[in-house]
Structures are given as structure tokens and as C-alpha cells.
Symmetry: C2
Subunit: 344 residues, 2 copies
């Protein structure tokens, strides 16, 4: 007679930063993915606490984040910036919660796994704190995973087309409000960004490293991509540019392999691969676009072609677009939690 | 006693396509650059003929383009599409005019010079038809010229951030109108583009070459850049993306040299170079932006840095932005005309 193990009780989940752009998407992802949930505690700063947020037909009050917020919590999502994570993630972990942190606080700490489940679920192990990567690194490595599993990648080069959502609700609002003012010929003073955003593009607004000339976002993309792919020396070139779109990031990407890989083999590698969808209709000029990737759990991949600029014929070029708030943040965090439950 | 040669009479100039986005900028450029002008004839299709356009305080009537339009014309600017150029440029040339053609019709014809004065004024010779390059090729080669003159460039790789103006006034209007509709939650059916343009980016809307997977714009950039630099085999990788901005193009650019070139030498090469301006304030995160490049005759150059993705340390990365209607079209055409007058 077979005895079925009794199922583990559904976990008690907390979300720190529940009222932010990523926090709101975390709530939606838990709902849309039918995440098994024993209880849900929504946490935010004193300023945002007190309001209710809808979840599965109920209204859940947002509580103020304190040191006592993590009693009984099994899984705590953090999405309230690196300084909040640095202070409260160890407290949550000490209270017994597994922390999935969306900030940059722990990503490059040696013992802490940095995980994109499609690419390196094996890195999860039994960690108390798991880091969720930078949005570009997450979107990129989902697209790279099926190729990385088959062929040796020797170089990456990319230019990004990054949406406002990377700067939170405030930046999305600044883009909308500034654009309306521009169209109405009204003056508009940017509050969130140092530059006008309406009908404008600019180098990513993170600090420049004086030694390399790369900005903080670019250095994150390089370091995190190397860690996720477990290729600590992989040469990566990246230029991060903000463009006036709302919530999906684009990446023009060149992947150099050790040997030539033909376009058909690349397409074949993507067949059935998780988290990606090839949108590459050359006849109708239909390729990945933020207008279609926004709200889509998959990373869209297109313009797959042999790079004409590599005489050694070892480089593939493509253009990919992924939802910054989903695969670039909230959805990947929930996927990490799902993987933790599977391992439990 | 010295006898001064009597100055050549100021030329009779015609503009074909005077009412288009580039045509209107041509008129402004002739005005702002004090181009010596004997007379100005504005030409357009029957549909656009009849209206007046202002020039140096006068109203000039737009006449319908016919086979007799070029009598007495010394210099004819063409900016009305390749098929108009193919039909009427030889007629203008036969009537004795020197044609400066902004379309793609003659750019890759062997005997016809393709000219960016800062880069290859020497190619002008005594040609009857001179081709004005694709906007990206023009903006790019101005930025490359001071480097190309000093060092051997062995590879280029770029991703573009292209503005609506490349598709004319109609596309600029579609961007404005579509964006307003989006902000007002109103339905909007794109007429010019196959995709929604408001808060969206997409692969350049030119046909895809089935053999290479590159689109028409990308193949133009490759072929024309090689011709202007007189490096017919230069390996060039390019991805052309349209972004929701109005009239300046951005290019994320990697330049590989035969040997290492340090960033300071690059900056030095740009000192006093014509047509470029370095905007590279790392401390204040102030780099080239369309909001500042629009209406500026110079190509703005910034984010100059050693490429971290090239282990051989021979690649420089930068981000450049140039006005698509000025250096990318009208201004370069007028500069060609100025060079012709100097040679006369």
C-alpha cells in the first residue's frame, strides 16, 4: 500500500514594498500564477501603509514595515530598494523566512544565489536569501539559456532600449505627464529624472564609474549576467539607454559563439524552451515590440540573423523584448518562489 | 597691380520636394547658412504645388515639377523619393544643373560620388549628380572621420535609435497623434506605419532581405558607410530600431581599431574637428540626447570609453546623436553645394 506524503502547508508570504510598481505586479503574479498561498502580508513604508490592495477578491490592508513584520512568514519578497533590503532582509531571514530580494543589495554576494529559473535553477540550493537579478540581466539570460546549454558563448555585445518602469511608478508618471505637456506646448519640469523624457532618449541615469566610464546599470548587467551564466570572465559590452516607453525593455544583442552556429539551429534551440517566444516574421516585418511584450510573461525573440560584421562567422544577432515588471522583476521573483516550493 | 578675379555669379537653385520634411529644412539651411543664391525655385508634386513658402522675408510660390523645371538651374536639390530622382535627376543634369540627390536612387552607382564633406569631400570631383547619404550613414561618418583619418578602423558595430522624421512629416504627425490618443485612452489606427508608435519601439520598417535577414535600412548603412570611408570590405554589424522621438537619431557605436587607441587620444582627435561636438560630462550624467541635438548642426558625441567586451582592448564604445533632418539630410546636402561652389 502506497502512503502519499501529506502536502506541505501553503506558505505564508510577505511582500515588502507592496505599493510600488514591482510590488503591485508581485501581487498580480501570485494571483495569475495561482501561487499556493497560506496567507499574504503586504508591507510598505509608514507613508504608504494604511491603504488596502485587492487580492483574489479581498481587500488586504498594507501594514507598516517593522522589525516584527516577519513573524510566521515563510517567503518574503523584497522590492523596496537596496537600503531597506540590507536592513530588513537579515531580520526576515533570522525570523525563519526565505527572502527573495529584488534589489541589488545581495546580488553579487558570493554565497547568495542570483537566479533566473530558466537559466540556473540549480543555483538555488537551500539559501535563506536569494537575489532576483537586474531586469536586463533577467530578460537577457532567459533568451540566452537555451543557447548557453548547447553551445559555448564567448562574447556578448548589446545596446538596451529601457522603459520608464525601471524607475518605478514615479518615472512612468513623469513620462506620461511630460509627454502630455510637450504635446500641449506646456512647460514641464522633470522631478524624477535629470533630463526631459518626452520624445527623448538618454544614457541610463545611473552614476558613471570614473575608472571604466561605464554606468552603474551597465556594470550590473555585466556582473550579474556572468554570475547567472556561471562564466565569470565572459567578455560583455553593453550600452544602456533609456527610451520613452512604459514597461518593456528591448535589447539589440550580438552573441559570439566558439564556433559557427547557423540561424536554423538557433531557432530549433528555442522550440519548446521555457519563458521565450520567437516572433520573427520577416515577410510582414513583425518582430518583438514593447506594445506586444507588455503584460506578456515570455521574452519575445526576433531578428535572428548571422552577424554580417563578424568575418569569422561566429556571431548571431537578434532583438529581444521583455516586460520589465514581469520577467524583469516580479514574475522572476515568483518563479524563484515556485522553484523553492518544488525543492521543499 | 593685382587684378581680382570677378566672383562667380550666385547660383540659381531649385529644390524638388520643397514641401516635405527635408525640403522645408533645405530652405531653412540655405537661409541660416547664408548660402549665396541667385534665385530659388521651389518644386513639388501637383498636389503640393500652388502654396507659398517663406524665404528671406519673401513668399516663394511652389511650382509643379515638370520636365521643363530645370531651365537655367545651376544646382538642384532632390528630396522627393527615389522614383522621382530616377526620372527627373537625369533631366536636370542634361539641362546643365548639378544635382544633389537626397534619395537612395544613385548612392551606390559606381561613378556617382556619395559625399559627407567632413569625411570625403575629395570624392566630389566634377560630378553632375552627387548623392547625399542615408541619415545614419551621414551622422555616423561625421563622427568617424577624425578617427578614420588617424587610425585604421577594422570593424564597426552599432544599434540605432531612429526618429520619426526619417519617415517624413506624415510619420512625425502619426507619432504625435498616436501618442495623444494613447494618453487620452482613445483608439488610434496607424496609417503610415504597420505598428503603433506611441510609447513603442520596433525594428525599422523597411523590407527584410531574405538572404541575410538584414532590413533595407541596415543594408544601406553598411554599403554607404563603406563607400564614404572608401573601405569596401569593412565588417559592419548594425541593427536599426525606430524609437518614439521626433527628429534626431541616436547610435550606440563600437569602433574596433587595428591597434589599441586610448580614450584620451579619441578626445584629442575630436578637438577642432568639423561637424562634431563632444558632450561627455560623466559627473553630471550629461551625454548626447535628441532633446539637445534637434536643430543642432553638429553631431553630439559622448559615453566615449574603452569597450569592456573586447579582450584584445582594441575597441572604443560611444553614443552619438545627430539631427536627422539636418546632418542626416538637408544640411549635408547644402554642405555638398557649398563644397561645389568652393571647387568652381
Amino acid at each position: 500500500m502506497n502512503i502519499q506524503p501529506s502536502p506541505a502547508p501553503a506558505p505564508f508570504v510577505a511582500i515588502v514594498g507592496a505599493t510600488g510598481a514591482v510590488g503591485l505586479e508581485l501581487i498580480k503574479c501570485l494571483e495569475s500564477r495561482n501561487f499556493p498561498l497560506g496567507a499574504l502580508r503586504l508591507l510598505a513604508s509608514a507613508r504608504s501603509a494604511g491603504r488596502d490592495l485587492p487580492f483574489r477578491g479581498a481587500d488586504i490592508p498594507v501594514q507598516e514595515l517593522t522589525e516584527d513584520s516577519f513573524v510566521d512568514v515563510d517567503i518574503a519578497f523584497f522590492s523596496a530598494g537596496a537600503s531597506i533590503s540590507r536592513k530588513f532582509a537579515p531580520i526576515a531571514a533570522a525570523a525563519g523566512a526565505q527572502v527573495i530580494d529584488n534589489s541589488s543589495a545581495f546580488r553579487m554576494v558570493d554565497d547568495i544565489p542570483l537566479v533566473v529559473p530558466e537559466a540556473n535553477a540549480n543555483a538555488l540550493r537551500d539559501a535563506q536569501i536569494i537575489a532576483n537579478p537586474n531586469c536586463i540581466a533577467a530578460i537577457l539570460t532567459v533568451a540566452l539559456a537555451p543557447l548557453h546549454q548547447r553551445w559555448s558563448i564567448t562574447r556578448l555585445s548589446m545596446s538596451t532600449y529601457q522603459a520608464a518602469s525601471g524607475g518605478g511608478i514615479e518615472m512612468m508618471n513623469e513620462l506620461r505627464d511630460g509627454t502630455r505637456a510637450y504635446l500641449d506646448n506646456q512647460p514641464f519640469e522633470p522631478q524624477v529624472l535629470p533630463h526631459p523624457y518626452a520624445f527623448n532618449i538618454f544614457s541610463h541615469n545611473s552614476d558613471i564609474d570614473p575608472e571604466t566610464g561605464y554606468n552603474g546599470e551597465e556594470l550590473k548587467v555585466i556582473a550579474e549576467t556572468r554570475k547567472i551564466l556561471n562564466q565569470p570572465q565572459l567578455p560583455i559590452s553593453v550600452t544602456c539607454i533609456r527610451v520613452p516607453i512604459l514597461r518593456a525593455h528591448g535589447i539589440a544583442l550580438q552573441i559570439r559563439f566558439e564556433d559557427h552556429v547557423c540561424v536554423d539551429s538557433i531557432r530549433q534551440a528555442y522550440k519548446g524552451a521555457p519563458g521565450v517566444r520567437v516572433v520573427d516574421n520577416m515577410l510582414n516585418n513583425h518582430f518583438p515590440m514593447p506594445s506586444e511584450a507588455s503584460g506578456d510573461p515570455d521574452v519575445l525573440i526576433g531578428r535572428i540573423r548571422n552577424d554580417l560584421g563578424d568575418p569569422s562567422n561566429r556571431t548571431t544577432t537578434m532583438f529581444i523584448v521583455g516586460d520589465q515588471l514581469l520577467k524583469g522583476a516580479a514574475q522572476n521573483a515568483v518563479q524563484i518562489a515556485e522553484a523553492l516550493l518544488e525543492q521543499a
